[in-house]
Assembly symmetry: C2
Homo-oligomer: 385 residues x 2
Amino acid sequence: MKFICTQSNLKKAIFYTERIVSRQTTLPILNNILINAGKGGVKLSATNLEMGVDTKIGAKVEKEGKITVPVRLLSSFINNLPAGENTQLELINQSLKIKSGSVKAVIKGVSADDFPLIPKKSEEYQIILKNSQLKEIIDKILVSVAINEARPELTGINFILNEEEIILASTDSFRLTEIKIKLEKGNIQKEAYRSLKNKKSNVIIPATTITELNRIITSQEDGEVKITIEESQIFFEINGTTIVSRLINGKYPEYQHILPQQFKSRAVGSRDLILGSVKMASIFASGKTNEIIFKISSDAPKMIIEAKSAEVGENTSELKLDITGPAQEVVLNSRYILDGLNVINTSSVAILMNNEATPIALKEINEKNGEVLNNYIYIVMPIKN
Amino acid sequence: MKFICTQSNLKKAIFYTERIVSRQTTLPILNNILINAGKGGVKLSATNLEMGVDTKIGAKVEKEGKITVPVRLLSSFINNLPAGENTQLELINQSLKIKSGSVKAVIKGVSADDFPLIPKKSEEYQIILKNSQLKEIIDKILVSVAINEARPELTGINFILNEEEIILASTDSFRLTEIKIKLEKGNIQKEAYRSLKNKKSNVIIPATTITELNRIITSQEDGEVKITIEESQIFFEINGTTIVSRLINGKYPEYQHILPQQFKSRAVGSRDLILGSVKMASIFASGKTNEIIFKISSDAPKMIIEAKSAEVGENTSELKLDITGPAQEVVLNSRYILDGLNVINTSSVAILMNNEATPIALKEINEKNGEVLNNYIYIVMPIKN
């Protein structure tokens, strides 16, 4: 193996692959990255057996071959190489010899024969989404994923495809997020949809895979992601880089019946103002469930956020918001409300309530016409006393 | 107690005091901040018994009085208060009642009677240094302070005052920093110096105190620090805020004899280039002492930085630097070299050597005339094989 490429191309390719490499593993070769110089160019690959990443580097291949080397080591070295110089990588006696300007290094490698195979996709259809579309929803959908692995299906994101839209959902059973992406021409071809529908149109994607996808797309200006779903795995292709991940087995809970169809009371106002008030209240929130109270007053139209703790003290904020509907009083976990408000991207937010025993909802507000947007909903279960 | 001030003034005063409050303590009142409204205005105070901070707030006092409240709680609350509103603080039944716009809070307090006294200074003279002078040296002097408390005097910074200059030094016995600040008119008055000389002109200041001083001065645009040294404590006054700290007992080692008076060989070049090469070498550095080799070649004038590890591989960088003097080869701990290069502020650095058994030195280079600057020296002991 022998090839020449720029330090910046190499650095970018390592950035895309290195994070999924596990730090502690019973299989030491999984600490390594596979460098494969073939006829079609050079490819770097990494895997943690749950998820794999392949990425292409623009390079001039002089001799084909492959080797694996420790990724953290390679990454620290390449990141500190002076930029701008061409970098030559060569395999000599199971070691990777690197030359760049007046810098030389030899990194001991491990044979590529022992490196696990990263699955290739066998289907041809794709769902195409813009990076910008995904950037806007990923933080939102990750908020309510369960950390606890007692119910593995809740550690993933429910992905449902139908003829009009993609529906994403996540819940840890205390709060739930649902996001709808309307499919437009160009997102998916009709025949592809039919092909997909016959197989898998309701799957669970591990949250860790979505986090990794997010890291790669947020490092890129724009572009698009091509998604292909197969029997037990999902592929994301982003401009020369492919992430392949297993899907989570199991059936995602049918959450639709707990989503309120309508709300009696609504308070609309500045997201920053409400966020600041909830932060203050959270300091005085009591108990393990961080109890705070959301009150909507209907006579003097205002919202009141309150908290009281026997040890610490108490706090009340009165907010002049745009109120409709009857008075309400709901006890909530301040942490869940903060999580939701933190990922809202519009300057105004709608808080929607029915009564003290049913979920409250947060929705975004259209910046132009002030109307409630319905493509995103975040609901939080109340604390019942 | 009752007074009115702005949220921003209160926030700033809390910022100056809160960090020294210890998080775990056998004396719970030390988690609190003292709020004292007197005839002269409002003062916040905090102490961890080693170090205390007093700071004044611009406020309109309506009723004198004092109380202590948990500082983290107060800080989180005030930081989230909407800016711009006047904030009223009032003592009612051992609780602090805060009102700001439509936000109200009650924070349970503890009587100020149990709060430790923060020492007042009894001397009048001062050494005056500009914030900008201090900002430039603090990172440098902290680098070589000992972490290990086996020798308490090495966990501090040696401060020596003589008629011409202040000399600061720190060492953990593996490397040593010495910085000289030339005294100019305005830094200290003659009679003050004489008064000081008769008492304490060679003291040891805890590194933690200097870290705290740094935090306060880096939050300010410019200004000056007034320093007063007494028998067992030191005072720093910065624009309405006073830090008082104990001095470390003991005698600082007489390090002057290990500072080489001259160096035979010198390599001068880009600090960033050398830093990058040392970072690369450090990846391949071997053993617990992170061994790398600095070589100066005299025939082809260049510097070579090398490292080799049996497990990992090897690395060599050849640097075209400005070399004078005979060839050298010294084994060094890469971590210590990195620490030194990281705090160098000039674009070029001088590496100075005598032989493989004596310390090497780093110095800064005057940006204008390219000459070696002598007010700062960082020396690193070689590793002897």
